[in-house]
Amino acid sequence: MALKRKDLLTIRELESDEIHLILDTADSMKEIASRDIKKVPALRGKTLINLFYEPSTRTRTSFEIAGKWLSADVINISTTVSSVTKGESLLDTGKTLQAMRPDVVVIRHPVPGAPKILADRLQASIINAGDGAHEHPTQALLDLLTIRERLGRLKGLTVAIVGDISHSRVARSGIQAMRKVGMDVRVAGPPTLLPRHPEELGAQVTTDVEAAIADADVIMMLRIQRERQGPTLLPSLREYSRLFGLTVERVKKAREGVLIMHPGPLNRGVEIAPEVADGPYSLILDQVTNGVAIRMALLYLLTGGHAATN
């Protein structure tokens, strides 16, 4: 069993046995995080470039740690310090990077499909770390790993995703990944932040957050992304918080012990109450820990085999 691809661009292209392989490999990788000496030699001599056109702390750091724990050399490039600010096009940047013979390029870009442009032209494996409102496949995978770890299975579970569904690459990748492993997905949010054709996602849609979370096994809150919306979609954060925020009272109406997730960073007191985010059923920090394991698994699986051509 192996990944059938050079790149990881979308969840959409993944088959379910590939998803399970990635989760199993990540599960094995977790042991390394528990060691005093957190390094194995598997990717010695490989080079990983993190190319980030949008601000990111946890995703970039997560890929950096994953690469370093596997002994790869890791280079971080962010837009503010690179030639990008001098107007170099994505493709030129990609070609320049290719000339330095990286084995993997991790890219985050505001334009949907930007990772595909690089993947089609570069020998290196490309990993999409978020492209606009399109996909964020590694987030979806780490979420599945986190749920599976806590509940022992994925198939048949129900997840409620609440918030800005239409601008969320986390939701788009997450819903597809959950559907592929046999989970039921409900999404809830204000009508202005729900997709126009939600049935295409394979999720049940509602504007009633309490109906969505009623007997869900997992509640996934999304961050209100003020940077991706115009001013008119949300009248006020206070109103949003009152109607859709995950408060202690709302959690009490859900199933006892329902698991709480959030991709971060948190807007405390907006989409999620601090007592809920820090509560006993919150998996928010497990998600961060599992993010490193998922990225280690992907780096290991993608660098195996295909890149041996001269």
Binding site: M1, A2, L21, D24, T25, D27, S28, M29, E31, R35, D36, I37, K39, V40, P41, A42, G45, K46, L70, A297, Y300, L301, T303, G304, G305, A307, A308
Partner: protein, 191 residues
């Protein structure tokens, strides 16, 4: 990728049956106690996957003989292989599960077959990342020769001279439903 030739793998000979495996493990357990003057500070680390089964059996025997509990861990050496990136796809990574400290312990690595020594080399590198054992010893069920590295076993269930074209296959109750060791021979179909 190597050229695809139709290979037929057939069983050439059985070299150990269930009783022979039992006796060999019992003897190795006695040798472990003799060499280490007891079981104090001993830990058994099995290499995934059949080495783990053998390590559990050895631990059971050590308990029967000496009355002491010798802990068993499982080591997956995939991330330490010296052929990563040189051959096709990366092999599947399995879990390393060692729930105790190996610091200053007498570690006995347990594997089913000793062949080139490369797996043992990888296992020693893996162990060193987990701590600093006082000593590492190697126990194998079968030593089939053809070493490519300066490595030898401290405890051997059975020495079996083989040709490089042959394979030694260890089957254990826990994984395969039967206890036996066989030599497999591969022949090309168009002979």
């Amino acid at each position: 990728m190597p050229t695809e030739v139709t290979m037929k793998v057939s069983e050439k000979a059985q070299i150990m049956d269930a009783a022979a495996i039992q006796r060999a493990l019992t003897r190795v357990a006695h040798e472990i106690i003799e060499k280490n003057k007891g079981t104090a500070d001993l830990v058994l680390i099995g290499l995934r996957s059949r080495g783990v089964d053998l390590a559990r059996r050895l631990s059971q025997r050590l308990k029967e003989i000496d009355g002491a509990h010798v802990p068993v861990g499982a080591l997956d050496i995939t991330l330490y292989r010296d052929d990563l990136g040189r051959t096709g796809r990366h092999p599947t990574v399995r879990k390393t599960e060692i729930t105790f400290s190996i610091e200053n312990k007498k570690v006995i690595l347990v594997d089913d077959v000793l062949y080139t020594g490369r797996t043992t080399r990888a296992a020693m590198d893996g162990l060193m990342d987990l701590g600093r054992p006082r000593v590492i010893q190697l126990a194998v069920l079968v030593d089939r020769g053809h070493r490519e590295l300066p490595i030898r076993a401290d405890y051997v269930g059975k020495n079996v001279p083989t040709a490089k074209t042959e394979q030694v296959q260890v089957m254990l109750q826990e994984e395969d439903g039967v206890d036996r060791v066989v030599i497999m021979e591969s022949t090309t179909d168009d002979q």
